[in-house]
């Protein structure tokens, strides 16, 4: 029932696969979503796109074919992402495939696989992830949401925040405390599924971000009841499951895609402003160019290492931090080079230039906060370099 009936592309040569996906994208990818000023697909748009991928046989590149995925190795997954970037595809979060699906495949029961994977594959069901809480951001283990067993149900109370795409999602998986007496904060946490974002006790309160978008939300759980079968893996082992989510694919958060896009806009801007021959501004762009060049080199080499299976936590932390810091820096350069045009809402009043540079700048801000803030990445890397600091 789950099996992928499309061609097995894992056996193609890398180049053949690349050309196949490229051809498909070039004939299929909607023009209106190319080189997006809107950064991410939401809701119905995302569903439409996932279904297109599914119909084309290009859905869920990392999932095994037996679960309906493409069964691609990391190298082909990278090619897949490169081609999406090449066509200028809009990003979509796809939490259902990359996080929930991968976890269910690894840790889920057969029933969970049967129930959840098909609707992720065809795009019918969009998921969001409930990890962060108002007082548990970088320090995730201090989360306070509880799930108390009552018969064959868990009753969830608490709140999650920064839940990306929550306003557009059908289901949520979350971490909640199921053992309040565990000796360490990482213990006694379970990973749970709520099957309906609209079920009784659930409230989703949109949060508007600095760029005026309402992509994330605070989610409130007020005596929300779920069956015990909605625990992923074992009770009180949610922390381990969450850590295991950070597989090879976390490399994609270190991808230079956003930095690439921002640099392309920077080049267009400086040219439209007629400043591309002004040495002093060109020097700023040259710095951004070299930053990007080196980030891309590092990413390519870390990918090689990941494919060889030798990338370690320090390496992933390094590339994540470098990618987000570089994205941020290049967006800073964009604003600096734009001078008086920088703060324009929408786009600057410059003939033939329609990029929203302010949005690039604003959207870059949280890139060093989400997905493990730069401070957290540095802590991880420092531990690798020096060992842990002494307890005092």
């Amino acid at each position: 029932m789950l099996e992928n009936n499309h061609e097995d592309m894992s056996i193609l040569s890398d180049d053949a696969f690349r050309m196949k996906f490229r051809d498909w994208l070039e004939t299929t990818y909607p023009d209106e979503w190319k080189n997006p000023v809107v950064f991410r697909l939401h809701g119905a748009e995302e569903t439409r796109w996932l279904r297109m991928l599914c119909d084309g046989g290009f859905r869920c590149p990392s999932w095994p074919r037996e679960y309906g995925g493409m069964g691609l190795g990391l190298r082909k997954q990278l090619i897949y992402h490169e081609e999406l970037e090449r066509i200028g595809a809009a990003r979509n979060v796809d939490t259902g495939a990359t996080l929930l699906g991968a976890t269910i495949i690894r840790h889920g029961t057969d029933a969970q696989k049967q129930k959840y994977l098909p609707e992720v594959l065809n795009g019918d069901c969009l998921w969001c992830q409930g990890f962060s809480e108002p007082n548990a951001g970088s320090d995730l283990a201090s989360l306070k949401t509880t799930a108390v067993l009552d018969g064959d149900e868990y009753v969830i109370n608490g709140t999650k925040i920064w839940t990306t795409m929550a306003p557009f999602s059908h289901k949520i998986f979350l971490l909640a405390r199921t053992d309040m007496n565990a000796p360490r904060p990482q213990q006694g946490i379970s990973m749970l599924i709520v099957d309906d974002m609209k079920q009784e006790g659930m409230t989703v309160s949109s949060i508007t971000n600095l760029n005026g978008e309402a992509e994330f939300a605070q989610v409130f759980f007020d005596d929300v009841r779920i069956p015990v079968t909605n625990v992923i893996y074992e009770v009180n082992k949610g922390w381990d499951v969450a850590k295991a989510m950070l597989g090879d694919e976390r490399i994609f958060i270190g991808s230079p895609t956003l930095a690439n896009q921002t640099f392309a806009v920077l080049e267009e801007l400086i040219s439209k402003m007629g400043k591309d021959t002004d040495t002093i501004f060109k020097a700023e762009v040259a710095k951004a160019f070299c930053d990007l060049n080196d980030l891309r080199a590092l990413f390519a080499q870390v990918c090689d290492a990941a494919i060889r299976g030798v990338a370690d936590g320090k390496t992933y932390s390094t590339i994540k931090m470098q990618a987000s810091e570089t994205f941020k820096r290049i967006s800073d350069t964009l604003i600096n080079v734009a001078q008086e045009y920088g703060p324009s809402v929408g786009h600057p009043d410059l003939d033939g230039f329609e990029k929203d540079i302010l949005a690039f700048f604003l959207i870059a801000r949280p890139s060093t906060i989400y997905g493990g803030a730069s401070e957290i990445q540095k802590t991880i890397i420092a531990r690798d370099i020096f060992g842990p600091p002494a307890k005092r």
Binding site: I207, S344, V345
Partner: protein
């Protein structure tokens, strides 16, 4: 910054302002103003006028109090600190400087509604990005008709009138143009802080002879002084803004607990904030030194040090507000958090009247020119 102090007049002014601001201003009002067409509230402009803000620099003949710039700058700091959206620097500093220089019957007629807050006056002089004082305008006034475009004009609104630089008989001139003049087309663009930056197109706007305020060297001197005063006031405004953002962030960091300690306890965070504090101190020192040079008529040195100050303050205000967002974590990226208002205001102020990259080079170029001149 205990170690800096106001003089008597500055302290009086600051106290009166702060009393008014704490009674009448809030970040709620900042948000409301962002939604208004002009990005500020004409009512509040009039209230500020009643307190003497709009006439602070205007000479007594022009209906103002004629205070020196140094006494007026605490106002700019308070404007920055509280994100006050009314166009204090553009109008009460820059336009007022030109009006003072004009010093004739017409300037009094123009100045009066500025002093009483019924009108906003703004100086339209810029025609390209970046700037290093007065440049030769392409806007011309021929046969009593003004033709050409001005860019990046601040403070545009229904109650705004204009002082426009142009070439008249081969000379620089500054002319008065009512905001509703025939042949004037305005294309305002909304900025991150809700204010407008406007492109003005003059296609044969009539200039009455009595509305030619200044011409030749006096016009050039007035324009240069207006830019100098405006740049210094803008520096003071940015210092105020950065200081407030810094304090808000310090308070947040002391209250935000992660890993069982306030994030203000993490040494790396502390040191970064110390570095930013140093930038604020340098910015504050830099514009005060420039002000001293201007006050004491060291014009060559003033030009150099104003550019240096603008470079430092422009960079500093962005550095402080960007770090403030980072230290606020996810909260900092929400529309709801006040700290984002500071970032968006910093984005608007930092490049206005020339950004850091530009002014740093300008400062050194002018210093070298001065040295070469001196060496002759």
């Amino acid at each position: 910054m205990v170690w800096r102090h106001d003089n008597e007049m500055q302290r009086m002014l600051r106290d009166s302002i702060e009393a008014h601001v704490s009674a009448n201003h809030s970040t709620d009002r900042v948000r409301e103003c962002r939604e208004m067409r002009a990005g500020f509230d004409p009512q509040e402009w009039r209230a500020m006028a009643d307190l003497g803000w709009t006439g602070v620099l205007l000479s007594e003949e022009n209906g103002g109090t004629g205070l020196p710039l140094s006494e007026a700058l605490p106002l700019a700091e308070v404007v920055g600190r509280n994100l006050i959206p009314e166009p204090f620097v553009a109008s009460a500093i820059m336009a007022a400087t030109v009006l003072n220089a004009a010093d004739n019957k017409v300037s009094q007629v123009i100045a009066e509604p500025l002093a009483d807050g019924s009108r906003v006056i703004t100086l339209a002089f810029q025609e390209q990005t970046g700037m290093k004082g007065a440049t030769v305008p392409s806007v011309t006034c021929k046969n009593g008709k003004l033709v050409g475009n001005k860019l990046f004009v601040p403070a545009w609104s229904d109650i705004t009138d204009l002082l426009v630089t142009c070439i008249l008989d081969g000379d620089l001139a500054i002319v008065f143009i009512p905001g509703n003049a025939e042949g004037l087309a305005a294309s305002p663009a909304k900025m991150s802080d809700g204010s407008l930056m406007t492109t003005l197109e003059f296609s044969g706007v009539a200039v009455e002879p009595e509305n030619i305020l200044l011409q030749g060297q006096p016009a050039l001197d007035a324009l240069n002084l207006a830019i100098a005063n405006g740049t210094l006031a803008l520096c003071a405004q940015m210092e105020g803004l950065a200081t407030a953002a810094f304090e808000i962030t310090v308070d947040y960091m002391k209250s935000r607990v992660q890993f069982n300690q306030p994030i203000s306890d993490f040494q790396a965070n502390r040191f970064t904030m110390v570095d930013l504090n140093g930038e604020i101190e340098l910015g504050g020192a830099s514009w005060r030194q420039a002000l001293l040079n201007l006050d004491e008529n060291r014009f060559e040195a003033a030009r150099v040090s104003i550019s240096a100050a603008k470079a430092r303050c422009s960079e500093m205000v962005l550095a402080v507000t960007k770090a403030s967002i980072q230290y606020h974590g996810g909260i900092g990226f929400t529309e709801e958090a006040d700290i984002g208002l500071y970032l968006k205001a910093a984005l608007r102020l930092s490049p206005w009247l020339g950004g850091a990259v530009y002014h740093r080079m300008a400062a050194y170029d002018m210093y070298r020119e001065g040295q070469v001149d001196a060496g002759k």
